[in-house]
Amino acid sequence: MSARIGKTIEDRVDAGRRRFLIAGTSVAGGFVLGIPAISFGRPAVSEGTSGERQIGYFIEIKPDGAVVIGSNQPEIGQGVRTVLPMLVAEELDVEWSNVSVIQMPLGLIKTADGYTWKYGGQGVGGSTGLTSNWDFMREVGATARHQLIRAAAARLGIPASSCTTKPGFVVCDSPADAIPYQDLIADAAKLDMPEEVPALKDSRDYRIVGTQKKTIDALDMVTGRAKYGMDTVEPDMRYAVIARSPYLNGSVRSIDDSDARKVDGVLDIFEVEGPKPGEPYFILASGVAVVATSTWAAIKGRRALEVDWDPGPNASDDSETFWRENAEALKGNGQVVTDDGEFDKAMASADKVIEHQYEVPFVSHQPMEPQNCYAYVQEDSCHIIAPTQSPSGASRSAAAITGLPRENIRVDMTRVGGGFGRRLTTDYVAEAAIVSKHTGWPIQLVWTREDDIKNDFYRPAGLHEIRAGVDENGKVMAWTQRLASASKYYRRPNMPDDKLWEAELYPDDFPRKIIENFRLEYFHNAIGLPRGSWRAPAHTANAFVIQSFLDELAHETGQDPLQLRIDLLGGERELEYGNHGGPTFNPGRLTRLVKFVADQIDYGTKRPDGRGVGLATHFTFGGYAAHAFEVTVSPRGELTIERIVAAIDCGYAVHPNAVEAQLEGGTIDGISTALGQEITVKNGQVQQSNFHDYPLARIAQIPSLFEAHILNYDETPTGVGEIPVPPVAPALTNAIFAASGVRLRRLPIADQLKRAMTA
């Protein structure tokens, strides 16, 4: 279906940059609508993050009235395959029960200026799946509806303005004369597209948007029919695993594959050359590929391999050294990246200075579906089927490995068994292409859990210090955050050292512009561990640090932690916000949320000894969240989370069921990570290997008393996927302090509480 539409769009792309949609009749006789070379009311061409530009999208009305909506974005569990079609269906005015959704492949068109998007920008990261398509998808639906109305009006010889619609029908003179959409598709397909986008619905008239809708693929998931990357089966497909260097940046010295080749089903074994240390990469590690007739034969073959590894330049990398270096660094002066007001002067005049350090560890993504990719590289084509957050990244990786032009590379997306940022990188796509290119076979590359834990783009670890000067009334006069960390900007081409901080400190975060004398200072610390984006990247670290410190500051100056937050955040006002999620940040929206969760959990009620409540709130990528945790800590340091109140202000909840799901899931992700997750390195090797030493939260750790609240604010939706995570860890550790008096300044919590309580 996509190829058919693509051809239509390509045919018209050169017709100029007029504002039009492209309509035509599909092979099956349906009415098909592509959108626009350029979307309405926007800059003519918008640059995506990876250089592609926006071109098209489509819907189809079948002769039997069924509506098929193409979903152009990767579904990683966030609900994008449901919410984007909801927008189209709303404006098209059809019954939601009549809608089915198909996954569109990556659509790229080559133009004189480079590659442009055929189906609109494709890729999910930064909680933008909905927001970047909110206007666009509604315009698609509204335009299709408009064409159907025009077709009906022309048939009846009346002005279009005298017609309207009800779900699935154009209604002209009287409801009795309603014409089903499917009877109008042939006429509608012949009409020229309107110059301007028709008016969008008033939100008061929404029948689908903002209402409770179930996940569109739920039945496929509960019956085992949903297909993930791991489930790909293609003709003549072989299976591959790779033994990767256990040493960060290590390489293969020699291979003895004599036993491995004897394993039944093993077909081929060969070395995969890794990237040069420190240089930009397509794959993560050097290794040895084992290709076999089944996954198990490949795994067994790999076990029988003897590889002599050259430990390489990072052989002495060690977590203990890394943390010692961070501590040393903070004793000196770093790069001052933000310096507002007169920090030194204000600090010197402070009545009291409060200072604490916090440690945030490296963590790994660990989606339930390990990395995998199907690749079939032929002489002049390449087919990729991948669970990915970045199909265009997959295309670029495959192009780099095969040398083929990107228009010869087909990228199909499966449902994805979890993203969390791991699948923004496409190293596993490049590996699959390498194996297929080498063997000439269609290859399903499979990673095991151990591969996934030891070869990741980890969330950066860092040692943070916050120092605040307060006056005699406890008012904060000056504030500095100093961070020594391994920047997320890992092996980026053209990345100067003095920009590395930009991945770790988002300067416009609270409390900048609220505390006048404000300074941020950064120290980069090199380590061989690859780093990448982990759900809400640096916000997870900074929210923990800032929201923990606020509690400490309150306690040490005799203030109430809730009241201090309210005093600092203040009322509604828009502050400029230059980082992702801007252009503004309204701290009053955090005030509203933190007061709300505090009320819900009866914050003011005194608890018995051993029981306490903690709060935290944070602004992430345009959205606002707050948490209240109530916990008990036994005298032996056993922690029980008794109750959680979570609240999100995502502007306007377009798909409330999914917002609630993300709020629940994001909260549990935050708990899981805070409780026990840490990646450590010894002798240049990652020490964790599976869920026994890299634990994910289990159901018993999550209380039944769990409330997820959505507080709408206006009619503009923000993203949702990452927003709930950052406040979780500090709300939890603040609650632990309230219950036990033990302040945890290092994540994960692990056995720290038991040790502190029994010391």
């Binding site: 569990g77 966030q78 609900g79 179930k214 996940t215 693929d217 739920a218 039945l219 998931m221 509960v222 019956t223 085992g224 029919r225 949903a226 993930y228 791991m230 489930d231 089966v233 299976y239 039944d264 089903g265 089944s294 996954t295 198990w296 034969a297 067994k300 660990q366 989606p367 339930m368 579906e369 390990p370 449902r415 994805v416 068994g417 979890g418 993203g419 969390f420 499979v446 095991t448 859990r449 069921n657 799901a661 629940e664 899931g665 909260t667 549990i668 992700d669 899981s672 599976n690 869920f691 026994h692 994910l696 939260a697 289990r698 159901i699 018993a700 999550i702 039944s704 769990f706 997820a708």
Partner: protein, 156 residues
């Protein structure tokens, strides 16, 4: 050769008898609803029923299924109109996010409810904590299990 039943049909496997049941189901019988995740029995994504009891299929060799009846997620309901109460409850509470672990969660919950027809939260916590959901659907899983118990009671 190993002979067994899968979803009420005869199946056989002629490869290495130490091949985990998981890979026989997925690669040889094309029953991909059963998922591979940790490979060592720590997460439950691969749970199937062997003679009606939940088993982590990544941990048992296919030889252990000799002469037994294996049920996978594909065989849990004959048709979409006749879903297991657990599947129905999962739909009612819209449990799944990414969905990858849910086949195993559902198979584990079916076995659990056979043993605990009137479960408490504590029963759920004690019996379902061998399972992992990275998306964090536990709040809905707990509600859906209670709902499934209710549906089963209404059936009987």
């Amino acid at each position: 050769m190993i002979s067994f039943k899968v979803n009420n049909e005869s199946a056989s496997f002629e490869g290495d008898t130490d091949t985990p049941l998981l890979w026989v189901l997925r690669d040889h019988l094309n029953l991909t609803g059963t998922k591979f995740s940790c490979g060592v029995g720590l997460c439950g994504a691969c749970v199937v029923h062997v003679d009606g009891r939940a088993v982590a299929s990544c941990r048992v060799p296919v030889s252990s299924a000799e002469g037994r009846a294996v049920t996978t997620i594909e065989g849990l309901a004959a048709t979409d109109d006749d879903l297991d109460p657990v599947q129905q409850a999962w739909l009612e509470h819209d449990v799944a996010q990414c969905g990858y672990c849910q086949s195993g969660q559902i198979m584990a919950a079916v076995d659990f409810l056979n043993r605990y027809p009137n479960p408490t939260d504590e029963d759920i916590d004690n019996n379902m904590s061998s399972m992992v959901c990275r998306c964090g659907t536990y709040v809905r899983i707990r509600k859906a299990i209670h709902r499934a118990a209710e549906l089963k009671r209404a059936e009987s």
